[in-house]
Subunit: 169 residues, 2 copies
């Protein structure tokens, strides 16, 4: 299989699209994420795969938790916005309606639903880190809306270039 | 929030539906799973949350890998079938078209796509275990079909009864 075919194959792993927020004191950031799943009922845990090179990764660990805003299907532009790299001179939250969660991490006011998580574990996972978040709060804001899916965003994140040229044992 | 509301909230985490196969020598099993996501590009890793009380959990570790068959939207009955408990006197694979993967784990012939994974790590995650699988092979069988989503199966798995009565910090 060629790289593009492998990207197509992995798009069959059904995922949503989220804006994940983190904060350490007055420093806060948010980024678009798709690699998220529930992993436990008791306690209620979500697992999120985070790129350690993402500026929010350090904030997430320093703050001991993260928030998850579930995007609805009309929010592709929000996904694109928070998918941009953070920079010293760029505050991705400027002009966005948000509120601070319990630990200060941003929760988008315009979202389908939200979760607030306390960091409950972490494990290296290839070029990412898998973090576990215990869900301590959450809410469903738009019960009738449909979640944005990762597949619906096509190659917005440019990820098709990140797949290898072939699968190898 | 009441338990039913919490179940509704967690249904906004968008997930697919899969039949996961495992084998240890001639012993093999397959079960329905939804808690699966990609977690790394290099190496290509999937993370899967497995109930340690599931009969396949031991097979997965003993065999050192697992397969993932991606269900398409018309395969709700297949999801239901492999969601039943395994038993000594019940072979869930009887009457099902499947082929053995590299290590013998079953791959469904009637599926949208499939992955073959080598066990690459594991971490306790509440009442489940999170296993990492390095994708060593895979294929897209039905490029035009749509994946079955966990949300589309409603409460087929009875999971709404497994959510707590409230979220607590």
């Amino acid at each position: 299989m060629a790289s593009a075919e492998i990207a197509e194959l992995f798009r069959r792993v059904t995922l949503g699209l989220y804006v994940v927020g983190a904060a350490d004191g007055e420093r806060r950031d948010a980024f678009t994420a798709a690699w998220l799943t529930q992993v436990s009922f008791d306690p209620l845990l979500l697992a999120l795969s985070v790129n350690p090179q993402n500026a929010s990764h350090r904030l997430l660990h320093a703050g001991g938790g993260f928030t998850v805003s579930v995007l609805e299907e009309t929010q592709q532009e929000v996904a694109r916005h928070f998918g941009l790299s953070s920079g010293r001179d760029r505050d991705k939250l400027a002009g966005i309606a948000w509120r601070p969660g319990r630990r200060g991490a941003p929760v988008l006011r315009d979202a389908l639903a939200w979760f607030e998580c306390e960091l409950a574990g972490a494990m290296p996972a290839g070029d990412h880190e898998l973090v576990l978040g215990r869900v301590v709060d959450g809410g469903l804001l738009l019960p009738g809306a449909r979640p944005l899916t990762y597949a619906a965003t096509g190659d917005m994140d440019g990820s098709s270039a990140l797949y290898p040229a072939r699968l190898s044992a």
